[in-house]
Symmetry: C2
Subunit: 197 residues, 2 copies
């Protein structure tokens, strides 16, 4: 099956260890956890062909980026608190510009958006999910090895958007109404799954 | 906009107050919380035309049922822990066969599956989400005021299924691959939203 990836930008997401009892208070870490859950998990299993990247832009230690590889990840379950525990562990580790392994399938670095896209555009075709894009149902048939970029509840700011537009093959919308980030991910998978079946 | 409802069966979901720090340990309450989140929330808003029903079948105090009305609910956010707090509060309240209001938009009762469906089939057409059903994309156009019934990670047991089949208009599948309950809900909304737009 074709590889797929998602890059979710957390505009205010904390880059330091945080309380598992208040994920919204950690710069809306709850959104990022749900995005990972929807991107990686299916019923009783994990999508091994999927990688998820998070870009955390909150606080004075930003940016940090996290990579979760579906083919390697272990002991992760789809609930927000479990996923948040993995992210918290990653944020407690010293890292630089290169990916540093936290444990099976989880990596952390200080890559910024441009550095992430420089790397990922070598392996993926980049699609930017935005509400004024082309209808996914019209374009999904031509997608090969796609990476989908999307923002959290704040979308992408103008600076981030300028960078993304340099790399994006196409701007795509997933629904006639404005959805939460994790719902967009579920729908992207659904449309691609229908093609594969 | 047409009303929509979901009924999610939690086969092992606890019927007593539980720890917010271990939702999977409360009979997979995490799944039910994600189902509510996906059913009710969109970006920066709540679907006021949606009601969600949970049937909790875990423990010696079962069954209990919970109703969350999108048009009335207040102070709910889409993260699992917040939603779990609302459910926990409902489970701490004495109730009988009639719906008892917990607070805005949240109700609890001791209705069982048959009693729920007796009530809901007065207002909704009942669809049962199961992996061997008709492709949703083929049948979504004819759905009016639908109620979708689905199980948690264990599906529905044989007894529950016999009851549901008495009320179900049609058995519908939402994806070629086996998905988590909350993903099925996101996709059902997506297909209906495309029709409405």
């Amino acid at each position: 099956m074709d590889r797929r990836a998602f890059l979710v930008v957390g505009n205010t997401a904390t880059t330091k260890p945080f309380s598992l009892n208040d994920l919204p208070g950690a710069g809306r870490m709850d959104i990022l956890c749900r995005c990972i859950s929807q991107a990686l998990f299916i019923s009783h299993g994990i999508r091994k062909n999927v990688d998820v990247y998070l870009l955390l832009l909150g606080g004075c230690d930003a940016p940090k980026s996290i990579r979760i590889a579906g083919s390697e990840v272990k002991r992760m379950s789809p609930d927000e608190r479990n996923i948040a525990g993995h992210i918290r562990k990653a944020l407690g580790i010293e890292c630089g510009k290169e990916w540093r392994k936290v444990h099976s399938g989880v990596y952390v670095s200080r890559k910024n958006l441009e550095e992430l896209l420089d790397e990922l555009s070598q392996s993926y075709k980049v699609y930017y999910l935005r509400e004024d894009g082309a209808d996914i149902r019209e374009v999904v048939g031509s997608m090969k090895t796609p990476l989908f970029i999307l923002g959290d509840h704040m979308g992408l700011n103008a600076d981030s958007e300028r960078i993304v537009e340099k790399y994006a093959e196409e701007i795509v919308k997933v629904s006639p109404i404005s959805l939460m980030a994790e719902q967009c991910i579920a729908i992207v998978h659904y449309e691609l799954d229908r093609l594969d079946s």
